[in-house]
C-alpha cells in the first residue's frame, strides 16, 4: 500500500509538471497578457506599459519565464497575481476552501440520496422505488447544471431568500448560500451513482452466497447491507474518486451563475484578465485534486476489497 502511494506521488508530480508546462506554453503563446488590458486606457503611455511588463518579467522569452516560475514553485511560492496584486496562494486559499466545502457538500448529498434510493430500488426490480429510480436517473442525467443553476437563480431572485454581498456573510447565510449550488452540483453525480449502486447491488443479490445467507435466515436488511453492498462498493468508490476532482473543476459555471466565491469563479476572472500566474495556480491545484481523488479511490478500493490487496498492481 505504501509502495502504491509512493509510486503514485512520483507519477502525480511528473504529470503535474507536464500539465504545468503545457498550460504555461498555451497561456503565454496566446498573445496579449495581463498588461494589455491597460492598452485601451489613453492616459497610460506605451512606455509605462513596457516598464510594467519589465517589472513583472513579462518581456522575457518563454523558457526563461517558465524556468522562473518553476524556480519559485520549488521554493513553495506560486508567484504573484498581477490582477489581484497579491501572492497567488493568498488569493487562491480562501476560495480553495470554499470550493472544497461546495464539493464535499455536493458529494454528501449525492451519496446519501444515491445510496438510499439505489438500495431500495435494487431490492426488487419493477417496484415503485425501482421505477422512481429509473426516472430520477433519466431526469438527473439530462438536466444540465447550467440550466439548473439558471432556474435556481430565477427562483431565488423572486423569493429574495438570500442576499447581501460576499463580505458580510454570517455563518447562517453562508450555509444558506452553500445549499443551492451544492444541490445543483450533486444532480449529475446522483444520476451516475444511482445507476451504479442499483446495477451493482442487484447483480450481487442474485449471487449464490446471498441465497445461502437467506437460507441461513439472515435478515433481508443485513443481507442488503453486509452481503450485497460491500462487494458492490467497488465501482462506487471509483466513481467517487474520479468525480471528486471533477467537482473541483466542474463547478465553474455553477459558481459563476450562483456567485459562489470559489476556484471556478476565480478561474473565469483569471482567464479574462490573462493572469498567467493565477491561472497556473488554479490549474495546478485542480489537477492535483483530480489526481488525489484517483489515489484516494485506489487506496479505498484496496481497503474494501482484499483481492486487490493481494495483487501487486501498481499502475
Amino acid at each position: 500500500m505504501l509502495k502504491l502511494i509512493f509510486y503514485r506521488f512520483i507519477q502525480a508530480a511528473l504529470i503535474l509538471l507536464l500539465i504545468s508546462f503545457l498550460v504555461f506554453v498555451l497561456l503565454v503563446s496566446a498573445g496579449g497578457d495581463a498588461i494589455s488590458a491597460l492598452q485601451t486606457n489613453q492616459q497610460i503611455s506605451e512606455q509605462t506599459l513596457e516598464t510594467l511588463r519589465r517589472l513583472h518579467g513579462l518581456d522575457r522569452p518563454l523558457p526563461v519565464r517558465y524556468g522562473m516560475w518553476l524556480g519559485e514553485l520549488a521554493g513553495g511560492n506560486l508567484g504573484q497575481s498581477i490582477y489581484f496584486q497579491a501572492p497567488v496562494w493568498n488569493v487562491i486559499q480562501p476560495r480553495f476552501w470554499n470550493t472544497i466545502a461546495l464539493a464535499m457538500a455536493a458529494m454528501s448529498i449525492a451519496l446519501a440520496f444515491a445510496s438510499t434510493l439505489g438500495l431500495a430500488a435494487a431490492r426488487r426490480t419493477g417496484s415503485l422505488a425501482d421505477r422512481f429510480c429509473d426516472l430520477s436517473i433519466l431526469l438527473a442525467s439530462s438536466t444540465p447544471r447550467l440550466v439548473l443553476a439558471i432556474l435556481a437563480l430565477s427562483f431565488l431572485a423572486r423569493t429574495s431568500l438570500i442576499g447581501g454581498t460576499a463580505t458580510d456573510w454570517q455563518t447562517g447565510t453562508w450555509l444558506l448560500r452553500l445549499l443551492p449550488p451544492a444541490f445543483i452540483l450533486s444532480v449529475p453525480l446522483i444520476a451516475l451513482l444511482l445507476a451504479q449502486t442499483r446495477a451493482a447491488v442487484s447483480a450481487r443479490l442474485k449471487e449464490d452466497y446471498v441465497q445461502v445467507a437467506r437460507a441461513k435466515g439472515v435478515s433481508e436488511r443485513l443481507i442488503l447491507v453486509r452481503h450485497a453492498l460491500r462487494p458492490a462498493l467497488n465501482p462506487l468508490i471509483t466513481t467517487f474518486g474520479s468525480s471528486l476532482g471533477g467537482l473541483m473543476s466542474g463547478s465553474v459555471v455553477v459558481e459563476q451563475v450562483l456567485n459562489w466565491p470559489g476556484l471556478g469563479q476565480l478561474s473565469v476572472i483569471a482567464v479574462r484578465s490573462r493572469d498567467v500566474a493565477l491561472l497556473m495556480g488554479i490549474v495546478l491545484i485542480t489537477s492535483a485534486a483530480v489526481l488525489f481523488g484517483n489515489l484516494l479511490a485506489d487506496v479505498m478500493l484496496r481497503l474494501n476489497d482484499p483481492r486487490l490487496r493481494r495483487e501487486n498492481h501498481i499502475a
Binding site: 500539465i19 447550467l146 439558471i150 423572486r158 465553474v252 478561474s267 490549474v283 489537477s287
Partner: protein, 376 residues
C-alpha cells in the same frame, strides 16, 4: 433479397418495446428539422433589431377580440410601449392582425439553394391598402435590443447542433484511432498514449477550454468560432474514448478470431478495422452518446461565459446569458427568458433517451436489423 420496403417493415416491428429509443430519435429528429428549416421557422432575421420594442412580452394569440366577438382565425393586437423606463407595454385593441401561415418576410436561401421569403408564421395588416405596418409577432417576446427571441432561439439551434455533435464525432474518431493503435501495438506506444490520456483526464477541462479559447481573439465569425471550438474539443476530449477503445482492443486481441486473423497473416490495419472495430462498436457508440451532452454543454457554457460565439450571432449559450441577468428576471416574465434552458434540457433528454434505448437491449439495433434481413 427482400424488397427494401418489407425490410423496413420488419425493422419497424422490431422497434416495439423500444419506446425510449423512439422518443429520443423523435426529439433529435425534431431538432434536426428545426436546424435545417431554421430560416423558415424563424419569424424575423435574428439580428434585426426593433429598438422601439425592447423587452417586449410575448405576443398573445387571441381568438376573441376586445368586443367579445369570436374569430375563427387567431390574431394579435399591436402593442405600444407606454413606459420606456419600466418597459411596460399596452395592447392597442383598435385593429386586429390575423395570423398567417407561410407569410412573406425577410428573404433567405432554403437549403442554401432556393431564394425565398416565406416563413412559417407571420402577421398581415388587416387590409393591404392600409399603410399601417403590421406589428411584430414575437412568440417569446424580444430581448433588450428588440430582437425576436424566438427567431434567435431557432437560429441558435444551428450553431449549437453543429458544434457539439461534430466535436463529439471527431473527438470520438480520434480517441478510437489512438485507442486501437495503442491497444494493438502495446509496449512503448501504449505507454506513451495512455500516459498522455492520463494527463488529459487529470486536466480541469472547462478551465483549460476557457484558457484555450481565451488564446484566440474573442470576435470571430461564426464559421471560424465553430471550427476553433471543435478543434479545442477534439484536442481535449479524445482521452476517455481512447481509454475505452484500448481496453476493448486488448480484450478482443485475446479472442480466437483475432488470433486466427493474425495467424493467416492479415495486416494490422485490416485486423483493426475488419475484426476488432466492428466488435467494439457497441460500447464505443454508447460512449459517444454519453459524451455528446458534455460537449454540447461545453459549447453552451463557453458562449454563456462570453468566450464562445459572440453577439449578435446566436447560440444557446449566449441566449442563456440573458437568463442569468437578475434584474431582467425580476422585472419580466421569466418563462420566455428561460426558454433556451428548456430547449437545451429537451435536447439532452433526447440524447439520453437514445443512449438508454441502446443499452437497454443486449443486441444492438443494427445487428438485429441485419439478422432479420438474413433470416427471412
Amino acid at each position: 433479397m427482400k424488397p427494401l420496403l418489407r425490410q423496413l417493415a420488419t425493422a419497424f416491428r422490431n422497434l416495439r418495446g423500444r419506446s425510449s429509443l423512439i422518443a429520443g430519435i423523435l426529439i433529435l429528429a425534431f431538432f434536426c428539422l428545426i436546424a435545417v428549416f431554421a430560416d423558415l421557422v424563424a419569424t424575423y432575421d435574428y439580428r434585426s433589431q426593433s429598438r422601439r420594442e425592447p423587452m417586449a412580452p410575448p405576443s398573445s394569440l387571441r381568438f376573441q377580440d376586445a368586443q367579445g366577438n369570436w374569430h375563427p382565425r387567431p390574431f394579435i393586437y399591436a402593442r405600444r410601449l407606454v413606459d420606456p423606463l419600466e418597459r411596460r407595454y399596452e395592447e392597442d385593441t383598435q385593429q386586429r392582425y390575423p395570423l398567417e401561415l407561410f407569410a412573406p418576410g425577410y428573404s433567405y436561401k432554403l437549403f442554401g439553394l432556393f431564394t425565398t421569403d416565406r416563413h412559417l408564421f407571420g402577421v398581415q395588416s388587416a387590409d393591404s391598402a392600409n399603410s399601417v405596418e403590421a406589428p411584430r409577432l414575437n412568440w417569446l417576446g424580444t430581448d433588450g435590443l428588440g430582437r425576436d427571441r424566438f427567431s434567435r432561439l431557432v437560429l441558435a439551434t444551428r450553431f449549437s447542433l453543429i458544434v457539439g455533435p461534430l466535436g463529439t464525432l471527431l473527438a470520438s474518431a480520434l480517441g478510437i484511432l489512438i485507442g486501437l493503435i495503442a491497444g494493438y501495438a502495446g509496449s512503448w506506444v501504449d505507454a506513451v498514449f495512455m500516459r498522455a490520456a492520463d494527463v488529459m483526464m487529470a486536466l480541469p477541462t472547462l478551465v483549460l477550454i476557457l484558457a484555450a479559447r481565451a488564446a484566440f481573439p474573442l470576435e470571430l465569425p461564426p464559421a471560424r468560432a465553430a471550427a476553433l471550438l471543435i478543434t479545442i474539443f477534439v484536442v481535449l476530449g479524445w482521452a476517455e474514448m481512447a481509454r475505452l477503445a484500448r481496453g476493448l482492443t486488448l480484450e478482443l486481441c485475446q479472442r480466437e478470431f483475432v488470433q486466427a486473423a493474425i495467424s493467416i497473416g492479415c495486416s494490422p490495419a485490416r485486423i483493426l478495422i475488419r475484426h476488432i472495430l466492428p466488435n467494439a462498436a457497441r460500447p464505443l457508440l454508447a460512449q459517444t452518446f454519453l459524451m455528446l451532452p458534455a460537449f454540447l454543454l461545453a459549447e453552451t457554457s463557453l458562449s454563456f461565459l462570453g468566450v464562445g460565439l459572440q453577439e449578435p450571432e446566436a447560440s444557446w449559450g449566449n441566449l442563456l446569458a440573458d437568463a442569468a441577468n437578475l434584474t431582467l428576471l425580476e422585472r419580466h416574465d421569466a418563462l420566455p427568458i428561460l426558454a433556451p434552458a428548456f430547449v437545451i434540457t429537451a435536447f439532452v433528454l433526447g440524447v439520453r433517451l437514445i443512449g438508454r434505448g441502446l443499452e437497454r437491449f443486449d443486441e444492438p439495433f443494427t445487428t438485429q436489423l441485419s439478422k432479420t434481413a438474413k433470416s427471412a
